[in-house]
């Protein structure tokens, strides 16, 4: 091996040169391979970072708008494209179009102003333009040069804004395209396959953000809306009402009003046709109310620059409310109420039947000055109750008097609860007399409230509120026990061939209790009364409703040996034939017929008809409210079996009852006349004596 520089052999030189060139070529290839690898690695890293950033944003951002804004910027950054924009897919009346979300990423807003203006001004139909095509195909698309694309609708604006290349991709939720994202740049760019392969993953993250937002919206909507009608529920209504109150606090001029709407007769529909029919009615009513509000607002005649708006809500059951805002005067609310009444005038078709309903409407206006939503709603509710009390199918404006009455009622309710706890109730008894023998055959137990101050309150002043509050259930149970106990004791003291009967009223609420039979069995067992002596009196209203249950309960009571009376007959709406399908024993003709009997031939006729019908149906008849001799004689002549009324005795307490029974079993001897004179002031003995004398 030589170390000195030798003159070069040309062949050797050429070989060395080739060798050098090979080495250089190899170096360049290594560089190229490495560069390609580095570039790919870099790209992969960037892609992963992009996906990660968008996923993070989709998971953490507060709103879909934020997520998209971030994604637009991030993707533009990634592609080094200056413009990004989002279209939302919207559906109206079955037709779909793409509407600009007015969400852009742009580096030079001024430059793209024409393009932006045109994009936001007009919706695109499916298939129209690049986003339309993306919507139709459900896949990403790329246009190297939109200016050269005759099918691009925004071509001119794009040209004016210096836009050339475009790409767009769909955002899917499930199989459905819900948005289209588009990107633009200012020079021609051929389709970037790497980016297009990345697009579905980006779209998935964005789709999830929309999906989550939709789920949230749905939850919020469901939490604030009534599922049956889709109307706002109580919570949302109160929220809007609070807003109105706050708004009024800031703007003294603006007024609002609350309409509280309660359907009349809804319970009857529900009970007689079933809950599905009831739901159906509620839905139809809500539709009519919506219609009435559209017209109602027009009726109020508010102009465009002073629009009135309304919120219709369903509070539950058959209760609806309307909040009217920006009204001039409470009379505007009354006009809307009239519209509501009119809207309910025509019958509703429910399961092929025509059903009528009406509404009782209470109005409370902000003019009364309210600080809480609860207060105004409460007053509208009170006004509604007044409308119901005044005959239903009408509207009432709240006034302070109603509030005072409500307070009185509330106080009464409290007193009654206390009265129950303190055993302040007592029973009085009114004899029932056999009209052919003038003998007392039994008693009706009647409840009285003996207040601590000594005042005796009659049921007319408290039964209704007890029924409404449900307190009647406790009172009823007590009455039944007390009456049975008394009857059992009296039967021991005054034995008869036919034992004295005891009649006890059962209220609708009591009757509706699922464990009614169990309770009655318990009372019979506890008091030891012979069930055959017990008569339960129900009114016609008890028998309306679930006929099958009513019949079943009554049959079971019959099987216990209890006798059943229909009370106040003639005041309800039930037909005698309907009643006949129930196992009833006794019919009590309402006092109003007896009172009118001798005043007109028609009334007399009615009583006679009722009696002959009852006889044909094998029912006993008791005439209530027999007050004077003439009535008793008439009833006797008609063959009426039994009578009850002041002519014989007003309701008396147990002491009075005992002495009355004592007297009635005393032998009719010489003392009788003097006794009659002595006791003349007592209606009962007076009556009995007269009968006996006659």
């Amino acid at each position: 091996m030589s170390t000195a520089i030798e003159p070069c052999d040309p062949v050797e030189f050429a070989r060395l040169k080739r060798r050098l060139e090979r080495e250089r070529a190899a170096r360049l290839e290594v560089e190229a391979i490495s560069e390609k690898g580095l570039r790919e690695l870099y790209m992969r890293e960037q892609e992963l970072r992009l996906l990660q950033d968008i996923a993070t944003s989709a998971n953490l951002s507060q709103s879909v708008g934020d997520v998209f804004q971030f994604a637009l910027t991030r993707i533009c950054d990634f592609m080094a494209w200056p413009i990004g924009h989002v279209f939302l897919v919207e559906e109206h009346d079955g037709s779909v179009h793409l509407r600009s979300m007015a969400l852009w990423h742009t580096q030079d807003p001024q430059k793209i102003a024409p393009f932006r203006a045109m994009t936001e001004a007009r919706d695109l139909a499916p298939g129209e333009g690049l986003p339309g095509k993306v919507y139709l195909t459900g896949s990403a698309a790329w246009v190297a040069d939109v200016v050269a694309d005759a099918t691009f609708p925004r071509k001119n604006a794009a040209d004016e804004s210096g836009i050339q290349a475009a790409c767009a991709f769909p955002i899917l939720v499930g199989q459905q395209t819900v948005a289209v994202v588009e990107f633009y740049t200012d020079h021609i760019v051929e389709r970037d396959e790497a980016f297009m392969q990345l697009v579905p993953q980006v779209a998935t993250h964005l789709g999830r953000a929309i999906e989550r937002q939709r789920a949230e919206d749905r939850l919020i909507h469901d939490a604030s809306h009534d599922p049956l009608t889709g109307l706002p529920n109580r919570a949302l209504f109160l929220d809007r009402l609070n807003q109105s109150i706050a708004h009024m606090g800031r703007n003294a001029g603006s007024q609002f009003a609350v309409l509280f709407i309660d359907l009349d007769r809804f319970k009857i529909v529900n009970d007689s046709l079933g809950h599905l029919a009831g739901d159906n009615l509620i839905i139809q009513v809500s539709d009519r109310l919506k219609g009435a509000l559209r017209h109602g607002e027009a009726a109020v005649g508010l102009t465009i620059d002073m629009p009135s708006s309304s919120t219709l809500a369903r509070l539950g059951g058959d209760e609806f409310t309307i909040l009217l805002t920006d009204i001039d005067d409470p009379s505007d609310a009354v006009r809307v109420a009239k519209r509501v009444e009119e809207a309910l005038n025509l019958p509703f078709a429910i399961d092929g039947q025509e059903v009528y309903t009406s509404a009782s409407i209470g109005i409370a206006s902000s003019a009364s000055g309210y600080e809480t939503a609860d207060a105004i709603l409460r007053d509208a509710d009170l006004a509604m109750y007044r409308a119901k009390a005044l005959g239903k199918a009408r509207c009432e404006l709240f006034d302070q008097k109603m509030h005072q009455e409500a307070m009185k009622r509330l106080a009464l309710e409290t007193d009654l609860r206390r009265a129950l706890q303190n055993d302040e109730f007592v029973l009085h008894y009114q004899p029932i007399v056999a009209l052919n023998t003038n003998e007392i055959v039994g008693f009706e137990a009647l409840v009285r409230w003996q207040k601590p101050d000594g005042e005796l309150v009659f049921p007319g002043d408290f039964i209704e509120i007890m029924e409404e509050t449900g307190l009647i259930v406790f009172l009823g149970r007590w009455v039944l026990e007390e009456a049975c106990r008394t009857a059992q004791a009296l039967q021991g003291q005054f034995p008869r061939d036919e034992p004295l009967s005891i009649s006890v009223n059962v209220s609708p609420r009591q009757f509706a209790q699922p464990d009614l039979i169990t309770q009655i069995r318990a009372v019979i067992a506890e008091t030891g009364i012979d069930p055959r002596c017990l008569r339960l009196e129900i009114t016609e209203s008890v028998t309306i409703g679930d006929h099958e249950r009513v019949a079943a309960v009554l049959t079971e009571l019959k099987e216990l040996g209890i006798r059943l009376s229909i009370d106040d007959f003639g005041t309800g709406y039930s037909s005698l034939s309907y009643l006949h399908s129930l196992p009833l024993d006794v019919l009590k003709i309402d006092r109003s017929f007896i009172a009118a009997m001798n005043q007109s031939p028609e009334s007399f006729q009615i009583v006679q008809t009722i009696m002959s019908l009852a006889r044909n149906l094998g029912m006993d008849v008791i005439a209530e409210g027999a007050e004077v001799l003439g009535q008793v004689e008439q009833l006797q002549s008609m063959g009426c079996g039994f009578g009850q009324g002041y002519y014989f005795s007003k309701p008396i307490d147990l002491v009075g009852l005992r002495s009355l029974l004592m007297r009635s079993i005393l032998p009719t001897d010489g003392q009788d006349g003097s006794q009659t004179g002595h006791e003349r002031q007592h209606g009962l003995l007076d009556g009995l004596a007269t009968l006996k004398a006659g």
Binding site: L38, R39, Y42, A80, D186, H187, I188
Partner: protein, 178 residues
């Protein structure tokens, strides 16, 4: 500075003046001449090579850089055609330097220090190009612009209104195409 610039310089010198000249330049600059496109090399190696070339060719350093820039473009276009095919003329190509071309360069060579240009259009349709870099290679930029104009078969005039070499804070070139 990225090795690719040295590689292209070598190619340009060899193509125009022969391999021996490149060897001489390396010797004069005290460089071992080991440059690969994957590596980065001290900026002053380029400065010394330019100085050596200026001495050898009897040109100013500015002229060497400008000549090199112009000659380099066809070789870049050969290696990286995609940068050039996206445009049809010099002006959008130049204006895309910051936003498109340099980001692409960074994808190839992570950590590349690409200069930032600012652009301003003049009333007569010329483009003002601002340049500020500690390397002060405005002459190279000038040559690149001329090479790009050659590529798109355009005629360009570049005028240095301000120059860091003249003590200005930044360079400002006026580019007019004909």
């Amino acid at each position: 500075m990225k090795g690719i610039v040295f590689n292209v310089l070598e190619e340009v010198v060899v193509a125009n003046h022969g391999e021996a000249t490149w060897d001489d330049l390396l010797d004069a600059a005290g460089s071992n001449g080991v440059y690969t496109s994957l590596g980065s090399y001290a900026d002053d190696q380029m400065t010394r090579l330019v100085k050596a070339a200026s001495d050898a060719l009897g040109l100013t350093a500015t002229d060497v850089l400008r000549w090199f820039g112009r000659q380099a473009i066809p070789r870049f276009a050969e290696r990286y055609p995609v940068f050039f095919t996206s445009y049809t003329s010099t002006r959008p190509f130049v204006q895309a330097l910051n936003t498109i071309i340099h980001p692409e360069v960074r994808k190839l060579y992570t950590g590349a220090h690409c200069p930032h240009f600012d652009f301003q259009e003049t009333d007569d349709g010329a483009l003002l190009i601002g340049y500020k870099s500690p390397r002060k290679l405005c002459a190279l930029a000038h040559g690149f612009i001329e090479g790009t104009a050659d590529h798109y078969h355009e005629h360009v005039e570049v005028e240095h209104l301000k120059c860091m070499d003249q003590g200005d804070e930044r360079c400002l070139m006026r580019m007019a195409l004909h």
